[in-house]
Amino acid sequence: MKGPDLLVILLFSCVLPPQGWAAEQPAPDTEAEQPEPEVLTVATWGGAYEDSQRRAYFEPFTRATGIAIETVPYDGGIRPLKRHLAGGEVTWDVIDMIESDADVACAQELLEPIEPDILLPTPDGTSAQEDFMKGAIQPCFITHLVFSTVIAYNDEAFPGEKPDSVEDFFDLETFPGKRALRLSPTGLFEWALLSLSVPPEQVYDLLSTPRGMELASERLDSIRDSIIWWQNGEEPALLLASGQATMATGYNGRFFHARVMNDVPISVIWDGQLIGFNSWAIPRGTAQTEQAQAFIAFATRTDRMAAHANLISYGPTRDSARKRIGLHTDNRVAMQPHMPTAPGHMDHALMRDHRWYSKTVDLRERWFKAWLSEKDATP
């Protein structure tokens, strides 16, 4: 009967300030049975993002429950999760996945079900169902964050005219220099079509046809020799900072961190930003599903989500948390204007179609492999 105890603790911790609570709390039953202190393993994305999670979620959770959090690096996709589950012993307890990946993983039964009742109401009593963004609460994942993959550039690389559109990303003549792109079949083709002035609403319809993919390939061919591939979310900002790349695609929060916290001259182009969502999920077969659920319940509390948004510019999926976004916890920068959903940023934004994404995994990978190998074929 571990679950109810933990939930009771969480309900309390919702009312009482989390700090100082650890000392007073009674030792949970589990601790009496298990001599070692409990550790929960979270697979997440590293870098500035993980730091913000540590401060907003992991440390307060440990203080509130005594359960320590350890992280393992995860860069997205289904394959790493599959590999881990195939390994036998499941040590990942919680995983922070892109929504479309979570959707596929759920369909392939790689995830534990999550009870929707664990989600706590807002401080003023509004139920989680009403407070969360539509579709955020799913049978085996809870979508907690809005992020955006954007194009950014090193401001010093272009002292004259500044790039301001997706089209400029493909314009090597006016804006010379290397382009950093993620080595993954995500986002590339959307930008290729957006740069051909396809309206965002129709991008996925066109990409569904062989002709659309062909057009995207041709568009990417035009910058093929100037691409630097990145794999980890921290890299794009570093590539821009070092001057290796003049323009890069990457997660808006990382660019924000580099610009605001580390004073790197990075500017974001919101035109054609690709809006995506991150979801908490529990890998199937972990021994600590109760604790994992307790963590998710804790990390999706209004105050925790707001605290996270005040550390990095990713939008929370709870309305109540969105209303609590203010200044950055450390340097007092107003956070709202850096959110992907800020007014003006959404004018030409593309919502990542997570249904399309989850159903086209094979197709996209095949296409990407073929496109990469074309390069080797050309002398």
Partner: protein
């Protein structure tokens, strides 16, 4: 102005506005519902590329759906048309035009719903037909419904129908001015303020509703700065002329296809299924021809999305299959296919052009848009509407002027070659000829029977000349109708012919056997034609069996003409 007049006027304005808003809302919501349902079916039935790519790991399933869905869809359409639509054909804009122009009976609401269902099944299962025709009829259907209410408004039915049509077009294209003009240009055929005001309200209502709840990308969206060289306008004009030729080919193919279907497939309900199977077979090879093809339409505005041979192939395939689907009885319009064929043809023209005429030009996009509008306007006979669609969707003045030139040249040629539009051709085949304007068509549609008089003199064939002479003198007439005892008209006697005849001659021997007569179907227009050279007092009107039903005095024909023409002029010049 007395108190009563003010009251009347207030009532009229308030009621007309209410009618416009109510019909506008109904037409607009119906249009949205219809378009959404088509998309939903296309996704469900693996017709849309979006759904097909998501089933990409089961290529067998996609191929099977490509063959089976249009075939079964065709079968259902055939059955619905056969058993649920009283007219046994899809209802379309010509029916809306007829209902607005003439006071006669219109297809019932049930037939209208069944026809909409047939259109939904046709479009949902990927047949190569258009969605705007059914939308126009849907709007007209609601207008017609409101037209029947006893609101005591003049020209209530035609105005309400125009309101429904304007709202549907305004919503579907998100172009209220085009909707407004379409209702006048195609449906009403006049621009009186009395109709203009409510139709504007309905179009605006449609636009507002579309903006609040309809979230579909615009039909096309292009980036175009300006026409670079003035000589390009010559090229636009030439393109218009070529599009008129293409429209001619399209109409020929349509006629050929319905002739072929009639000759080779006896059961009417089976025809759409055959067309569906053919569509499926071709779609295995050229998937672009399935359905409305909005992806293809978008690609046509992107440079280098197609090669020249691909464009030619799709233009030809789409022309043939659209004709096939419509000729074989799928229910749907011609406008969307014409837009698609036109834009692909325009893209082809714009791509080939630099090879033929080696001068600088503004790129293929503007030529694609010109081709789209030139062909579509020739087919539906709505040059103003199509020009306005370009303007409202792009808000680009240069593009609109370019399209205008192409549209006008296309219409000038196609008007001569094929007539004003496909709709008018269909109406002419049904006996309502608008080629010489509304006056003639309406005079053609009104039977002279309505002006029948039963005051005439009759005579039996065996009666003597003297008896008849006396009777005519008594009744102060110069003519008598000679009938047998069953009332069948045998001949006509004129006083001048019997004035000197022997008194006991049987009257039948002297009767005129070759005389002008009308029947129950004779229209006002025909009666005027028949009256040429007529010297008598009144023309007898007989039933199909030859029975005398009454006479139409010469004066009544003139009265009929004056009344109808006066009514039309009044309708066209009414204030609000």
């Amino acid at each position: 102005m007395n108190h009563h007049d003010v009251q009347q006027m207030t009532y009229r304005i308030a009621m007309v506005t209410l009618v416009a808003i109510a019909v506008g809302i109904a037409g607009s919501l119906a249009a949205i519902g219809f378009v959404e349902a088509v998309h939903w079916l296309n996704d469900l039935l693996l017709i849309s590329p979006y759904a097909r790519v998501q089933a990409g790991n089961q290529p067998g399933l996609v191929a099977l759906a490509t063959l089976v869905v249009p075939t079964l869809g065709g079968l259902l359409v055939g059955l619905v048309t056969r058993y649920l639509i009283r007219e046994r054909r899809g209802l379309a804009p010509p029916d809306a035009i007829l209902a607005a122009q003439t006071p006669g009976p219109t297809p019932g609401f049930r037939s209208g719903l069944a026809s909409t269902l047939a259109a939904l099944l046709s479009l949902g299962s990927g047949a190569s037909v258009g969605q705007y025709g059914p939308l126009v009829y849907l709007g007209a259907m609601f207008g017609n419904l409101v037209g029947r209410l006893r609101l005591n408004l003049r020209h209530q039915r035609s105005i309400a129908i125009a309101c429904g049509v304007a709202a549907a077009i305004s919503t579907a294209f998100n172009a209220p001015i085009a909707g407004l003009v379409f209702a006048h240009e195609v449906i009403l055929r006049h621009y009186s303020l009395r109709a203009f005001a409510p139709v504007t309200v309905a179009a605006a209502t449609g636009y507002i509703i579309a903006n609040v709840i309809f979230d579909r990308p615009a039909l096309f969206l292009v980036e175009f700065s300006r026409v670079e060289h003035s000589y390009e306008f010559l090229l636009f004009a030439l393109e218009g002329v070529l599009c008129a030729g293409l429209a001619w080919v399209f109409l020929r193919l349509l006629r050929l296809s319905s002739r072929v279907s009639r000759r080779y497939i006896a059961p009417v309900w089976a025809r759409p299924a055959v067309a569906g199977l053919l569509v499926g077979l071709v779609a295995l090879w050229i998937p672009e021809i399935l359905g409305i093809g909005q992806e293809t339409l978008r690609f046509a505005t992107i440079e280098n999305a197609f090669g020249i041979s691909e464009l030619t192939l799709i233009v030809v395939a789409k022309l043939v299959l659209t004709s096939l689907c419509l000729g074989f009885g799928f229910v749907g319009g011609v406008f969307s296919p014409a837009l698609l064929i036109g834009i692909l043809f325009g893209a082809l023209y714009g791509t080939v052009l630099p090879h033929l005429v080696p001068v600088a030009y503004s790129g293929p996009v503007v030529y694609a848009i010109c081709g789209m509008m030139a062909l579509a306007s020739s087919v539906i006979g709505a040059p103003l509407t199509t020009i306005l669609i370009v303007f409202e969707l792009t808000r680009n003045y240069d593009l609109t002027i370019a399209a205008m030139v192409a549209v006008v040249f296309a219409n000038v040629v196609s008007y001569r070659a094929i007539g004003r539009s496909l709709f008018d051709l269909e109406l002419r085949a049904r006996g309502f000829d608008l080629t010489l304007g509304r006056d003639k068509a309406i005079l053609e549609s009104r039977p002279i029977r309505d002006y029948l008089s039963t005051r005439y003199t009759t005579a039996q064939g065996m009666e003597s000349v003297e008896t008849v002479r006396q009777r005519l003198a008594r009744e102060q007439r110069a003519e008598a109708m000679v009938v047998d005892n069953r009332g069948i008209l045998l001949g006509v006697i004129r006083l001048q012919a019997i004035i000197n005849s022997a008194p006991d001659t049987p009257i039948l021997r002297l009767a005129l056997r070759d005389f002008t007569r009308f029947d129950e179907k004779t229209s006002v227009w025909q009666s005027m034609e028949l009256l040429r050279g007529f010297l008598g007092e009144a023309v007898p009107l007989v039933s199909g069996e030859g029975q005398l039903l009454g006479v139409v005095p010469e004066e009544a024909v003139i009265r009929a003409y004056l009344e109808i023409v006066h009514e039309l002029r009044e309708e066209e010049n009414e204030g609000a």
